[in-house]
Amino acid sequence: MRKTKKLVTLSLFTAMAIGIYVIEAQIPVPIPIPAVKLGLANIISLVVLMMMGWKEALVVTLLRVILGSIFSGNLPAFLFSIVGALLSNISMIFLYQYGREYISIYSISVIGALFHNIGQLIVAAFIIQNVKIYLYAPILLVSGLITGLFVGIAAQFIYKHFKKLFFN
């Protein structure tokens, strides 16, 4: 891919991720538990990982978390977001690089979502200095399973159509 095209594509993906992130922050969650949310912005991370490679996916995720936290006015949650997003992205990259033949994108997405929640739990336990926060773990695992599956299906769908658009 030419350098300019790559730059534009990455910028577009980052913009999309931030847009999704900001809009998602406005959607009320039916369950009153802090860390439960859809994680739709993860779709973009997954698509970039599949289409362009792991370095680009990491860059897009980092930019999305930093800029998204600023734009959505949710800066206190920045630490939660960045640890969760990095952990989830690294696990997905690892699985995609080495386990692509054995597991589909759905599993990769689910594991990514679970690691996102685990990262947030770790940060929360550090911040409030109380291990009892891990009592949330079962609920977060279930929510991660559901949202991760949804994100995986969405990413697979987008990937199928974006491939024709960008790489013809």
Binding site: Y102, Y106, A137, L141
Partner: protein, 129 residues
């Protein structure tokens, strides 16, 4: 869906089930260990009972100078007003209470029972709900 997916989902399912079992065990343990009932009359603590250490059902009677009385029954892990001289009988109808944070009150006689975690009695001066 590829072959490895089933193993992934099986593993995640096992982890989730284990975490729920762990949560259940933790809650059960906490429930039986350290719950304390505090009985107050006129806002003064008159009795503190560790509910889990009660083996046989006990009935205690609290009287005040105006011939008002309340009978409180205590069993292992739970406590209730069994009889009261007050006209509305709200405290009796509250029934058994057994969870930390729950409370039964007899307003006319100024008597209340509340259950708190045992650690809180050591660390906190007073608990307001």
């Amino acid at each position: 869906m590829k072959k490895g997916d089933w193993w992934v989902f099986l593993g995640i399912g096992i982890i989730i089930i284990c975490s729920f079992i762990g949560l259940k065990i933790y809650k059960l343990k906490n429930k039986s260990v350290d719950q304390v009932a505090i009985i107050k009359q006129n806002n003064k603590i008159i009795d503190v009972i560790e509910l889990s250490s009660v083996k046989e059902p006990v009935i205690i009677e609290i009287k005040d100078e105006n011939k008002k009385y309340n009978k409180i029954e205590i069993q292992s892990g739970r406590i209730r007003f069994i009889e009261s001289s007050c006209p509305d009988q709200v405290c009796v109808h509250t029934g058994w209470i057994n969870e930390a944070g729950s409370i039964a009150v007899c307003l006319p006689n100024m008597i209340s029972i509340e259950i708190i975690q045992a650690q809180q009695t050591k660390e906190v001066d007073d608990v307001v709900y």
